[in-house]
Subunit: 626 residues, 2 copies
């Protein structure tokens, strides 16, 4: 039954040999790798406005104008980071994730810190992207007869997560077919919206601004306050969520057509340009049309609704659908990255080895399931609200940016002899990247710590400690299991003990089996609760004992396990060095519920013998029918 | 740790030989066996009034006068039943519970019906008695600073149940010391209260009646209606709860001093007389003093409070404390009876055999725990309200009365030759008893069916079906395990298969063990996911294979269990008749949580081999340190 359900959900198993690698053209690669980065334009501007809204009352709404300088600052940061990563692509053409770059150049602990940050971040990417995607949908249906969807955001999020998890368990590849259409529809519709908005504004003037909502939505956890520099830093931090996902291409260089590095670098530049244009464009739109954040509708939905009316009304729905689709794809990217990174960590023995196993469909199924569970829990805990998740986000990203760029700095220092002539320039670029992302990381922690960032700040070191503990365990096991220094042992001396509860067919076969494995060193042991039963057993022993010695252990306290264990210890002492095999006659009911009707004493006994050295337990089953 | 807690709660284990039987004098036996019966006077009158209250509005309160004729009717029924049971005592001096009498004389099914009724009833006795005891306490503290206890009835009930269960797990015997004091204090204080009440009334007249409460409490589930004959029958049914527990002495004849039967019969008469006096007295008090049922205070508490004022004020608390104490003892009686009856049923193979095992302290621990759980659930489900539980109660009692008395009728017919000369008179007495209890049973079902009695009417047949199914299973097992017709088998041919995951110390010892039990018929099996690993294994095999044949099974779908099972089947076919021992090398981590870090493949494999005939599984543990 369980198997049938599994087959229905994930499809039939795939052969190991069926693992294949698709090589992507630049155009498709742009679609595949940029969904995460580009999708953040769907919420980055709004997250800036949410913080600025805190000071709206104190400044009569002029605080919203700061969205422009802040967005420009973020665009500059984006340019720095993109340039930095361009170099990583050339230096690590086989794929240079932050974990690998940091581990190789800075050492294991920085590598693990980068790994932990990324894992945390992938979980957040899923929760946040899905929450934002659901907001795009609920904004679109707002005021229609599907308005009630807005009351069920959390459930919608969970449905989407389950859907993506199942698709990934089936083994959705990051195929061009899946990604190209929604990504390009999103890009084109956004660019069109921005161009149309600018044209409209400069032709008709700003007459068509949106009236401010009755109640402004503000960033979670903030109180209304005057406009301070610290508040602006907070808005800047929120906007930095636009940079997440920018590292994706540097992880996947191998997926490009030849020459891989060159193609990947070019694609990165294109992605950065698109991202900058779309993000700045959105911020400018919000500024020109005076869009203010609102509880029931996203910022983008507000001005798309304003712009596309009358005969262009359908285009509003295209924008919303494309937004929702690209956000779901962004979550899907995390579903590829999280299992891949955790399998790398598992292969290096920092995570349970089960995470390195490929499932039926050649995907790392355990990682997919774990990601789905964690992101689902986050969505529930934070009520599916994007703005509540934002303070937790981006710390992991910027921490891994910083580690990865610092790693690159060390890389250039080490490789200065063998690397290309321009290594000094490259070092400077990466150093600027490292410094810039580090500063942003500090700003982020300072401004968001009390709003939730502390959770991540606490989580990452804990994860690193966990990785270390797991690693220590595996090393210990490997050392203890190693055949190094092992001598071929002499023949084994062994003694067999058969605990019996009386004479029945199950016991008779167990005795026979015991004799077949050690003909003359077998003893049957009976634990005696009442004397009469023991006497009747001795009578039958003549006929059924098969010549085996019968030991009767008195048990005045009606205990079974303790007298047996004591006897086994005694036998072990008397035959030092011998292995003791305990042969347990067990009858197996035909149906599972029938187990309730029988004493579970053999289970208890097995449990207590499990940790006993030199004792081997064998169950001789006697199968019952019906 | 768990053992330490258990020792603290239930005390140290007792030897089987310490089981002892106390013989009771009539005076102590009266205390031990009558707590259940006598305690029902604490609520029987109130339950009659609750139904009469339904018609109070339609009759301007005169409906309450019917408490007297109804109580007299119940007293007559009580006399009939007591006389009937007197005969059972003489006929079954070794103890004649309804289960035994019905099973011996009417057949297995009636016996099981009686058994099921009694089990259901014991659960209800606990819930009901404890709920009534808690009401006695909350009534007493009503209006004092402990008034808040009234809001926590359910929790109080659960605490009492847990307390009694633990006391019984420790092995509280039904000792005179425990029972005598509260029972006699209860009897004397009740008798005094009744006498004092009568004296008071006839000296000063009825001036001191209680003003009717602002809102009458009525029986659960009834709507206000006119006084009908059917309603009076309902009130009568409720009052019949006074008869429960009357059979206790006939179950425990063996506990009396010699001559057992005669002493028991005399004690029964005494108990019946006391019960009649106390029950009728309470009803008369309620009638004379116009006590009407009230939500926050029991009927008995109301008139005890009225009567004992001024210098006698302390006596009110004596009455309430004695009432609470005897109700707790009544529940305690069920804690002795339920495990005893279920152990009888288990010994006859109608219930899981675990119920027939005596625990550390020589009591049937499993029965005690089950009773505590079920009665706790009932208390929670019915909110600890006595009047909600009443409709479920007494069906089981009267059904078992009817079956037991009918059994006695058959008994006299069968034994007419050997029995005493007066067997015809005895037969008539039991026939009247059977008929009377049967009529009451029908009245009970008719009047209470929709108020909850249906639950019990459905439960009892279901329980009987369950007993039957369990019995069938045990018979089948016994038949299949019987050595009857079994021939001594010839020597066993066997083959050993060692599934391995590579070469390590654990595998090396498993191979050595396998060779020691079947030197030349051993093969190691490796399931191959990737070719490289298999090649490296073959290289090492020379040195560590100990001459054992190595079989490599390709697994293109990365499955472990399926290829192994297929191979085992193949080997089984090739060596038909041989037993296959699967020797599993298993390493055992030092701490339980470390299991998470290792594949649980051997567990899966064991699970799938468990139901396979002719296959025996042996785990060869390799114990890891740290």
């Amino acid at each position: 039954m369980a198997t049938a359900v599994k087959r229905l959900l994930v499809g039939r198993a795939l052969r190991t040999a069926q693992a294949a690698h698709e090589r992507l053209t630049k155009k498709t690669a742009l679609a595949v790798f940029s969904s995460d980065a580009l999708s953040s334009t769907a919420y980055a501007t709004e997250e800036i406005l949410l913080v600025l809204a805190v000071a709206a009352a104190a400044t009569s709404g002029t605080s919203f104008q700061y969205v422009i300088p802040i967005s420009i600052g973020i665009a500059v940061l984006l340019a720095i980071v993109a340039t930095s990563y361009r170099q990583t692509i050339h230096a690590y053409p086989s794929g240079g994730g932050a974990y690998i770059v940091a581990k190789e150049n800075l050492g294991t602990t920085p590598g693990l810190v980068a790994g932990a940050s990324l894992l945390v971040d992938y979980v957040l990417t899923v929760s946040l992207s899905i929450a934002a995607g659901v907001s795009a949908i609920t904004s679109a249906v707002q005021g229609t007869r599907y308005d009630w969807l807005g009351d069920h955001k959390v459930i919608l999020c969970l449905v989407f997560i389950a859907f993506i998890a199942i698709a990934n368990l089936r083994g959705v590849r990051e195929s061009g077919a899946l990604f190209a259409t929604p990504t390009y529809v999103f890009v084109i519709s956004f660019l069109f919206m921005i161009a149309f908005g600018l044209f409209h504004y400069f032709t008709y003037g700003g007459a068509a601004t949106i009236p401010g909502p009755e109640e402004l939505k503000t960033a979670d956890g903030y109180k209304v306050q005057p406009l301070t520099f610290f508040l602006l830093l907070g808005a800047f931090s929120n906007g930095c969520s636009a940079l997440t996902g920018i590292e994706a291409i540097s992880n996947g260089v191998q997926a490009f057509k030849k020459p891989e590095a060159k193609n990947a670098a070019t694609t990165l530049i294109w992605m950065a340009l698109l991202l900058t244009t779309m993000f700045l464009g959105t911020s400018v739109m919000a500024f020109l049309y005076h869009v203010h954040p609102k509880e029931s509708e996203t910022v983008i939905s507000q001005f798309a609704r304003l712009m596309f009316t009358g005969p262009l009304g359908w285009f509003y729905y295209v924008v919303q659908a494309a937004t929702a689709a690209i956000l779901v794809l962004a979550a899907n990217t995390a579903f590829a990255d999280f299992p891949r990174l955790s399998s790398l960590l598992a292969r290096d023995r920092f995570l349970p080895r089960q995470l390195a196993n490929r499932g039926d469909r050649l995907v790392f199924s355990n990682g997919i399931v774990i990601l789905a569970i964690f992101s689902g829990v986050l969505v529930i805990a934070f009520g599916g609200d994007t703005s509540k998740l934002i303070p937790l986000y981006a710390i992991g990203v910027f921490l891994s940016f910083t580690l990865s760029q610092s790693g690159m700095v060390v890389h250039w220092l080490r490789e200065r002899v063998t690397a290309h002539a321009n290594w000094k320039k490259s070092l400077v670029v990466n150093a600027i990247g490292a410094l810039a992302t580090f500063v942003v990381l500090c700003v982020f922690i300072a401004t968001k710590f009390i709003h939730g960032a502390w959770i991540v700040v606490v989580m990452i070191p804990l994860l690193v400690l966990l990785f270390r503990a797991i690693h220590k365990h595996y090393l210990m096991v490997a050392k203890q299991l190693s055949t190094e220094g092992l001598e071929q042992l002499g023949p084994i001396k062994h003694t067999v003990i058969v605990p019996i509860s009386g004479i029945h067919r199950g016991v008779v076969s167990a005795l026979q089996y015991a004799r077949s494995i050690a003909s003359d060193r077998v003893q049957a042991v009976y634990v005696d609760f009442e004397e009469e039963a023991a006497a009747s057993l001795r009578d039958k022993w003549e006929r059924w004992g098969a010549g085996v010695q019968l030991v009767v252990l008195p048990s005045p306290y009606r205990e079974l396990t303790r007298p047996l264990l004591r006897h086994i210890n005694r036998v072990a002492r008397e035959n030092s060095g011998a292995i003791i095999t305990v042969v347990l006659p067990e009858f197996i009911p035909a149906r599972w519920w029938q187990h309730v009707l029988h004493n579970q004493s053999s289970l208890l006994l097995k449990g207590s013998l499990l940790f006993k050295k030199g004792v081997i337990v064998t169950s001789v089953p006697y199968h019952l029918e019906h």
